[in-house]
Structure formats: structure tokens, C-alpha cells
């Protein structure tokens, strides 16, 4: 059997098990509601979920602008200047070890339980990895390009805008992918902890009243969001890869690399 066929069979079997196990009572409905009842729960409360989705998407959008914008900018700056890079990068990567969730209570005290605290938390959550990835990517730029630009008398801004940024686009995109995924996680997690709106809030509320189908409908919605975001970034990556390499053949190998890219998300 071909690997891809077996893989498809496994996925189908998992989905089937999701429906069968709860129905036959092998797994209690409380632990794992069947797929059909989850979808039904989602559709009957579609209005409520839609409203929550809008809130969450708004928060994700704003935080992404902060996290990715700031992360890419600072990462490019720190990565392209040798002195700050040697000095700051080890500090930033040890800061990365801190479980940032503990900052969320601080933000709720400062900014209240509305959207602001979620945006602040998710921005910081996504900021560090984006910055690390961008700074690392900037370093992999072919020094020959920079040397050529410098010998032709390019200023620092010109070097940044004309050489460093275009050459760094693949890395920036992978940074965007990691940062964006983390922003989604950050928003949903902070909504789950303390909030009054959004999908995370719905998940938490239905969890406290032990309404598993509704909890799972929310979880599915977040999953869909994460998958859609991933697909969008992949699509952009493909668009960029075309002008970068020029050939379709090279693009195929690029895709292989992209699927192998590490992307952590807790």
C-alpha cells in the first residue's frame, strides 16, 4: 500500500472512531462528544459562535500587526547590526525560556479584562519568536550581496530596504508563520483564562457547565482558524518563491522545505 493511501485511511479511521466510540458508549460523551453532536451544537448556536469569532479575529488581527510588525522590524535591526546582535540575541533567547503565560494576570490588572489585555498578551507572546526567527534569517543573507551594495555606496537605509529585506523574505515569512500561530494561541488562551467575549471564553464557559459538544465546537473552530492561517501563509510563501527562484522546479523543493519547517505552538 502506498504511504499516502494508508495515511488517508488512518485519518478516515480516526474520524470514524470519533463518531463511533462515543455513540457505542466506549468513551463517555462527556469526555469526547461524537462528531455529529459537536457539529450540531456548533450549528444550532451559529450566531453565538459567529459573534465570538468576530471578537477573536479582531484581537488576533491587531495583535498580529503588533507582534509581527514589531518582531520583524526589531529582528531585522538587531540581526543586521553585528554588535547588538552578539549582545542581545542570547538574552532574547534565554528570555524565550520563560513561560509567558504568567504575564497575563499582570496585563489583566493593568488593562482590564477586555480586548486590550488580550492584544497586549498575544502581541508579546508572538513577538519573541518572530524577532528570533527574523534575526536568525537576516544572518543567513549572502554577505556578497551586502558587500556589493556597500561598495557601490549604498546607505544603511538603502541596504536595509533594497538588499536585506528582499533577501530575508523567506525567513520573515517563516517568522510570520510561527509568530502568527502563537498570536492565535495567545488570544485564545487569554480568552480562556479571564475574559467576557471570544471563542476562548465560550470554550471555558461551556466547560464549566460540562457541555462537551459546545466545548468541542469551539475547539474545532480554533483549529480551523489555525489551519486556515497556515494555509494562507503557505500560499504567500508560494507566491514569493516564484519570483525568487523563477522556476517551478525549484519551487517544488521549496515546498518540501516549508513542510519540514519547525513550527512550535503550545
Amino acid at each position: 500500500m502506498k504511504p499516502s493511501t494508508l495515511r488517508r485511511l488512518i485519518v478516515i479511521a480516526l474520524i470514524a472512531l470519533w463518531e463511533i466510540l462515543p455513540r457505542t458508549g466506549l468513551v463517555p460523551e462527556l469526555f469526547l462528544p461524537s462528531l455529529s453532536s459537536t457539529l450540531k451544537a456548533g450549528f444550532t448556536e451559529a450566531g453565538e459562535y459567529g459573534q465570538a469569532l468576530l471578537v477573536t479575529l479582531y484581537e488576533v488581527g491587531v495583535s498580529m500587526a503588533f507582534a509581527c510588525g514589531g518582531g520583524i522590524l526589531l529582528g531585522a535591526l538587531v540581526g543586521s547590526l553585528p554588535r547588538p546582535r552578539v549582545l542581545i540575541m542570547p538574552m532574547v533567547s534565554s528570555l524565550y525560556a520563560v513561560p509567558l503565560v504568567i504575564l497575563y494576570p499582570v496585563f489583566t490588572v493593568w488593562l482590564g479584562i477586555g480586548s486590550e489585555s488580550k492584544i497586549a498578551f498575544a502581541s508579546i507572546y508572538g513577538f519573541l519568536p518572530t524577532m528570533l526567527a527574523t534575526a536568525a534569517g537576516i544572518q543567513t543573507i549572502d554577505p556578497q550581496l551586502l558587500l556589493a551594495a556597500r561598495s557601490m555606496g549604498a546607505t544603511l537605509t538603502q541596504r536595509l530596504v533594497r538588499v536585506v529585506l528582499p533577501a530575508a523574505i523567506p525567513t520573515v515569512l517563516s517568522g510570520l508563520r510561527i509568530g502568527g500561530a502563537l498570536v492565535i494561541v495567545g488570544v485564545v488562551v487569554s480568552e480562556m483564562l479571564i475574559s467576557s467575549a471570544g471563542i476562548g471564553y465560550l470554550i471555558s464557559r461551556y466547560r464549566t457547565i460540562l457541555d462537551s459538544p459546545h466545548v468541542f465546537a469551539g475547539v474545532l473552530l480554533v483549529l480551523a482558524m489555525a489551519v486556515a492561517f497556515n494555509a494562507a501563509i503557505k500560499w504567500i510563501e508560494r507566491k514569493c518563491a516564484i519570483w525568487q527562484t523563477g522556476t517551478r522546479g525549484a519551487q517544488a523543493t521549496d515546498d518540501d522545505v516549508a513542510t519540514g519547517a519547525m513550527q512550535p505552538a503550545t
Binding site: P3, S4, L6, R7, I10, V11, L30, F31, L32, V86, L87, I88, P90, M91, S94, L95, Y96, A97, V98, P99, L100, V101, I102, L103, Y104, P105, V106, T108, V109, W110, A181, I184, V185, V188, V189, M192, L193, I194, G200, I203, S204, R207, L210, S212, V215, F216, G218, V219, V222, L223, A226, V227, N230, T259, G260, M262, Q263, P264, A265, T266
Partner: protein, 250 residues
């Protein structure tokens, strides 16, 4: 020499940040009730560390973290090893693992509460769940980082399976594995603390969430500093071992 100046500069940056924190709060530029000064926070931290309840919370969290780690690392390493060694199995499962790796784990936290309740097993379970995928992925990478030439040489000299494992696999994989341990510990700690903050009766994460809800800023900030210091210290420790291990490696 240059490393010395770098370290000094780094210490200076950290001190400057603390000084800025102190000044902002003391001068009343930000409300001291929202941001107690650095010295007050550090004093509170010392006070907290003397309290039996806080120590107990730290102990609970440490036990949960270690239990989850002790479960996730061997299981994950075994799965990762099997995936990397068997080509067909790898082709089948890798995309699935990548998918599982890339989806946010924290949204499954409510599920762990529904299944395990609010207690020790739920924290360990969630920590395990948020760690295992990264362990699997890193082990796969570690196995793939072994040079085929080494294996060929070992085999042609007639090394036994144990010898190959001990002399070729382990030394080649060690640096990648240590890196993996470091990163999985980050994930593990985040997972356990998140689980504690979300719903718990004890543990330091729960304590921090409670301080936040009661607007006890001094205790809250002290807790944040405490966890940050512990996490960074552990991280740097493994990194130090990492550099020692890669010394003899070409």
C-alpha cells in the same frame, strides 16, 4: 576578553531595566499601585520564598513538571526513533505528526479537565500532551543527523547493535537531544503552568492567577520574577551542558 565585556554589558542592561522599573515607580510616572517598585517586589519575593505555602506550591509544580517530563521524553523519544528508523512508517506518519505538532495544544486543555478532573493527573497529562510532539520531532531530527558514513564504518568493522547504539548513535545524537530536552522543558513548563492557572487548587501557576485576580501586584510581580528566574536558570544550565558536550565534537 570579549566574552567578559559582553557578559558585563548584558548584566548592565538587566540592571538598567531594573533601575528604570524602580525610577518609573518611585517618581510616580506610573501608578505605584499598578507597578510597585523593583525593590519592593524583590523584598516581597524574599518574603514569599520564606512562606511555607508558597514553597509547597513550588514543590507541587516541580513534581508535576518532572512527572510530565519523565513520561513525555522516553515515550516521545521511542516514537521518534521508530518513525525515523522505519522508512515506510515515516512516510505514513510524518505529515500527521507535523500537523499535530503545528496545531495549538492549549485549546485541548478543557478536554483534560473533563477527563481527569482538576488535579495532579490533569496537569501531568496536559504537560505530557504539550511536550510529546516536540520530543518526537526532535528525536526524528536527531536520528537523521547521524552521518551514514559512521554507520557504514561501524558496520563494516563488525560492531554489534549495542556498540553501534552506544558508540555511534548516542554521541551523534547527543547535542541535538540536549537541545531537544531544553526546548521540551520550555513547552512542558508552559503547559503545566497554564493548566494550573486555568483550573487548579494548588501549584504556583494557580497562586499567580489568584494574586492577579485579587490585584495583589507586589506578590504577582514577585511571582513572575521568581518563575522567570527559575526558567532562565534551568535553560542556561542545559545550554552550558550543551556547549560542554559539543566541545569534543567536530
Amino acid at each position: 576578553m570579549e566574552r567578559m565585556t559582553n557578559t558585563l554589558a548584558r548584566i548592565a542592561i538587566v540592571l538598567a531595566l531594573f533601575a528604570l522599573w524602580e525610577v518609573l515607580s518611585r517618581m510616580g510616572i506610573v501608578n505605584p499601585r499598578l507597578l510597585p517598585s523593583a525593590s519592593d517586589t524583590l523584598a516581597t519575593l524574599c518574603d514569599l520564598l520564606r512562606r511555607a505555602s508558597v514553597r509547597n506550591d513550588l514543590l507541587v509544580t516541580a513534581t508535576e513538571v518532572l512527572a510530565a517530563f519523565a513520561l513525555a521524553v522516553p515515550v516521545g523519544a521511542l516514537i521518534g526513533f521508530l518513525v525515523a528508523e522505519n522508512r515506510y512508517f515515516a512516510d505514513v506518519t510524518k505529515p500527521l505528526l507535523f500537523f499535530a505538532f503545528s496545531i495549538p495544544k492549549s485549546i485541548f486543555l478543557p478536554m483534560f479537565i473533563l477527563v481527569f478532573g482538576v488535579g495532579f493527573s490533569q496537569k501531568v497529562g496536559f504537560g505530557f500532551f504539550s511536550t510529546i510532539f516536540i520530543v518526537i520531532m526532535s528525536t526524528t531530527t536527531a536520528v537523521e543527523s547521524i552521518k551514514v558514513e559512521y554507520l557504514t564504518v561501524a558496520r563494516s568493522y563488525g560492531a554489534t547493535a549495542i556498540q553501534t547504539a552506544w558508540r555511534v548513535y548516542l554521541p551523534s545524537m547527543l547535542p541535538v537531544l540536549l537541545e531537544a530536552l531544553r526546548i521540551s522543558m520550555i513547552f512542558n513548563l508552559t503547559g503545566v503552568i497554564l493548566a494550573e492557572m486555568y483550573a487548579s487548587r494548588d501549584g504556583i501557576g494557580h497562586q499567580i492567577a489568584t494574586w492577579g485576580e485579587n490585584f495583589q501586584m507586589k506578590q504577582l510581580l514577585a511571582g513572575v520574577v521568581m518563575i522567570a528566574v527559575i526558567a532562565i536558570a534551568f535553560n542556561e544550565m542545559i545550554r552550558w551542558v550543551e556547549t560542554r558536550c559539543s566541545h569534543w565534537r567536530t
